[in-house]
């Protein structure tokens, strides 16, 4: 019988929640890496036992953790548990927490600047890994989206990381931080075209490469940021919160922007708004049903300063028509006095039938719906604030 493994990153550690295909009874393990911010954990599609985790701290910087046994044990890549951390010559086996912007003579790229909040130039400074995206085909290859915004790749299981510096060349001097920092938070790999990657940055926008990361283009035509940018139709600078693409339909993307829910039918070349009848089109996550590419989910949040659901009612909204027409999903969710937020990496879907939908809140609840959103129940209620939720569907 199939089972699911939900990987939860929180402000104070990681948790692994497991259940069988019914998704009614859950085992909870954790906290792993107790006391650290776990921005994101994700498993490899090519090897479900291979998990990567971003362990980070404002005090002690960035640590990358890896599990090769489905989350039972973890180690920093290059230093397997129980083995010496150095070679006989005393050299470290890995540099898994070393993220250095590419200024090498080979690429000839100096360390450039982006815009600070006040519009002044500010040098790129590495702060943390927001998102880890394992390759769809190779467990040893994984991408990292970081703050200050850049994309790194490891092809040795996380031991070493190299920046794909072409991205910052796309008007990087005009990018600026959003309230949460200038982060590359979304990485979408295209199953139909291994050379194509989409990424999203707050606040720069969406970018696409068609040559595996060497060159990039801004993909923001149609986005309008009326009160946030001096030129609301600017090529870069939009605060994109999340993008999603269905595995079976690589040309169609959905976006939760700071304000506005958007759709592209031409692989990001242009976008149009599909907010329709949503009570507010501000929010963070957006995701797509595993088997119905026109069924999408968002969690409307009142506004950019009031980061909680409208009217104190936690409602997921589902569109079965690819946007514009939305229905509120409320069964099992708190419908009074609820003032939590759902962050951009904190919603996901499994691939069982019926499709399971999961999300975590800043109040520490992780909700699961085993019936595509029709009904919900909390798996856990009292975790630290949830930063990210991913799920693996296991045989």
């Amino acid at each position: 019988m199939s089972k699911v493994r939900v990987l939860v990153g929180t402000r104070k550690g990681a948790f692994v929640l497991t259940s069988d295909g019914k998704r009614e009874r859950w085992d909870v393990s954790g906290p792993h890496f107790a006391g650290w911010e776990i921005y994101h954990l994700k498993g490899s599609a090519a090897d479900p036992n291979r998990l990567y985790a971003s362990q980070t701290s404002g005090w002690f910087g960035q640590i990358i953790q890896r599990s090769d046994d489905g989350g039972k044990t973890w180690h920093q890549p290059g230093t397997p548990p129980g083995e010496p951390t150095t070679t006989p010559e005393g050299m470290p086996k890995g540099e898994s927490n070393k993220f250095v912007y590419d200024t090498s003579p080979e690429t000839g790229k100096p360390l450039t600047t982006h815009q600070w909040y006040d519009g002044t130039p500010h040098p790129w400074e590495f702060k943390r890994v927001w998102h880890l995206e394992p390759s769809l085909t190779d467990p040893e290859t994984v991408y990292a989206g970081v703050e200050d915004a850049a994309l790194f790749r490891s092809s040795d299981g996380g031991r070493t990381w190299q920046e794909l510096p072409g991205l910052r060349g796309v008007k990087g001097h005009l990018w600026q931080p959003g309230a949460g920092g200038m982060c590359l938070h979304t990485i979408v790999l295209d199953r139909s075209n291994p050379e194509r990657i989409f990424i999203a940055i707050s606040a720069a926008g969406v970018f696409r490469t068609d040559d595996a990361g060497k060159t990039w283009q801004a993909m923001n035509r149609g986005l309008k940021s009326l009160y946030e940018l001096p030129d609301p139709n600017a090529e870069v600078g939009h605060c994109v919160h999340r993008i999603a693409m269905h595995r079976s339909r690589p040309g169609v993307l959905f976006m939760q922007k700071h304000w506005d829910v958007m759709r592209s039918d031409d692989a990001g070349e242009s976008w149009h708004e599909v907010s329709g009848n949503l009570p507010t089109d501000f929010g963070f996550p957006i995701d797509i049903h595993a088997h119905q590419p026109d069924t999408i989910y968002v969690v409307p949040i009142k506004s950019d300063s009031e980061h909680y659901p409208p009217d104190g009612k936690l409602r997921v909204y589902r569109s079965r028509t690819g946007g514009n027409e939305w229905e509120a999903l409320t069964k099992g969710l708190p419908q009074r006095d609820c003032y939590v937020n759902v962050l951009r990496d904190a919603m996901t879907v499994d691939s069982l039938d019926p499709c399971g939908v999961y999300f975590g809140t800043t109040g520490g609840q992780v909700y699961a719906s085993p019936d595509a959103g029709d009904s919900w129940a909390p798996i856990v209620r009292d975790l630290p604030a949830v930063l990210s939720v991913e799920v693996q569907t296991l045989p």
Partner: protein, 98 residues
């Protein structure tokens, strides 16, 4: 032997309990102590000071013998009591660890 006290999170990362004892070649300074610490526990590279600039991370402080050494030059000699092992070199996370 130089005695180094690490904050709890870094002890967990380095998989050590209590103090760390290090042999430091040459003059005992912040830099030479941290070089020796990172050589023995490479998983700590980047956690106390930046990988590239070697600047102390903003929320990490250094103390010894009741003195705040955080803003001393990294190549300044550490107090004799640290050099002869009478007192530890303290790495402290600012503001009680958040």
């Amino acid at each position: 032997m130089i005695r180094v006290v690490l904050p709890a999170h870094l002890r967990t990362l380095a998989r050590v309990d209590g103090e760390v004892k290090l042999h430091v070649e040459g003059q005992v300074t912040q830099r030479s102590v941290l070089d020796a610490l990172e050589a023995r526990y490479p998983m700590l590279r980047g956690t106390i000071r930046d990988h590239v600039t070697q600047q102390r991370r903003a929320f990490v402080r250094f103390f010894a013998c009741g003195q705040d050494l955080s803003h001393e030059p990294p190549d300044a000699p550490l107090p004799d009591a640290v050099t002869n092992g009478a007192e530890p070199f303290l790495v402290v996370g600012a503001m009680a660890g958040g």
